[in-house]
């Protein structure tokens, strides 16, 4: 009997940990590609009038549905600089439209999402990322909630392990009849 309960308690802890792990897994970006070494800056790009210190594209050119999908995904992770809190995917301000246009062009040329983000970050600062880079001090924002969840889960596991019901302490006479009523109501 107690053996069974113990295993259920364990299952409870496992559930809490699973939820925590799930949160962590969802919180961290899927794959972090190794970054290209910073490229030689400022070499005029033939097709545009503005040079971008980007280096070589990390992958092959994109087009069609894949380009749409990747553009949308990246745009929703970039902050529109003039509208507060919205991504450039959600906003229709001119700034957001221009930035999305630029993002799409760079992605079409085969630059990786991180390369594009880095390019914008070089100009606008880390502020442009709608989600902080999960690196260094920024990890705090991911770790703190998960830590609380794990701590709370452990606490609940400890609380629910004990099976004994002690009766109301005598130090609380005002509540005795109230508690008696509660017990009656709940013992069905």
């Amino acid at each position: 009997m107690s053996q069974g309960l113990l295993s259920i308690a364990r299952a409870g802890v496992a559930w809490a940990l699973l939820t925590a792990a799930l949160a962590v897994a969802l919180a961290l970006p899927g794959s972090t590609q190794p970054l290209e070494p910073p490229a030689a800056p400022v070499a005029p790009v033939a097709s545009t009038a503005v040079s971008r210190p980007l280096g070589d594209p990390a992958g092959p050119p994109r087009s069609g549905a894949e380009l749409d999908r990747v553009t949308e995904r990246l745009a929703s992770r970039m902050r529109c600089p003039v509208c507060q809190g919205l991504s450039i995917a959600a906003s229709r301000s001119i700034s957001a439209l221009n930035m999305r246009h630029e993002v799409r062009e760079l992605l079409a040329a085969g630059y990786s999402e991180e390369q594009v983000l880095d390019y914008f970050e070089q100009a606008y600062g880390e502020f442009i990322r709608l989600v902080p880079k999960p690196r260094g001090f920024n990890l705090v924002v991911w770790v703190l909630p998960v830590a609380l969840l794990a701590l709370g889960g452990a606490l609940i596991a400890r609380l629910t392990r004990s099976r004994s019901v002690r009766s109301a302490s005598a130090a609380d006479p005002a509540l005795a009849d109230y508690r008696e009523r509660v017990r009656k109501e709940t013992s069905d």
Partner: protein
């Protein structure tokens, strides 16, 4: 007195209050440009009168790049000051205006009335603005002789700030 509650409570509350207290030291609207000290992104743009300008070709003299628009009141305020400064530093420094999300015709009408202190460059799709990380007009960048960005001003530039920043670069 439950000491544990006291200690835990204060441990939770004090960092929170501290974070909120330091928030007063920061202007939520001010963001330091990461471009300071870096090489200014090069651009080749056409101005409203048809001339082509390339930043890299202006090496050897400091350049003042001003992103502006006719709908922005501080831009209108700083226009006469920039005209004077452009006159004063003629031959010593370059002044470039880049149009920020504005109608070419409105810009032409505006400079026809109030004078040109430099070219008004057309920035298709705001590419130059993105390369310089412009949040909104006016923003002014000071580029030294070697093409490095040494200062960025958000909002109206004052004559004294312009002088103090530009003089050492000459």
């Amino acid at each position: 007195m439950n000491r544990r509650v006291l200690v835990v409570g204060l441990l939770v509350a004090s960092p929170l209050l501290a974070v909120l207290a330091v928030s007063f030291r920061y202007d939520p609207h001010f963001i330091r440009s990461p471009l300071l000290g870096k090489e200014a992104p090069n651009f080749r743009l056409v101005d409203i009168d048809g001339g082509t300008y390339e930043l890299a070709a202006l090496r050897g003299q400091p350049v003042v790049i001003n992103f502006w628009a006719t709908y922005c009141p501080p831009c209108i305020v700083e226009h006469p000051m920039l005209s004077q400064a452009a006159d004063h530093y003629r031959g010593q420094a370059h002044f470039l205006g880049v149009i920020y999300q504005d109608d070419e015709n409105l810009i032409r009408k505006f400079v026809d009335q109030r004078g040109r202190w430099g070219p008004s460059l057309i920035d298709p799709d705001g590419r130059a603005a993105i390369a310089y990380g412009v949040y909104g007009p006016p923003e002014t960048f000071f580029v030294d002789r070697d093409g490095k960005i040494v200062d960025k001003v958000i909002g109206e530039v004052t004559a004294s700030h312009l002088r103090a920043t530009l003089e050492p670069l000459l």
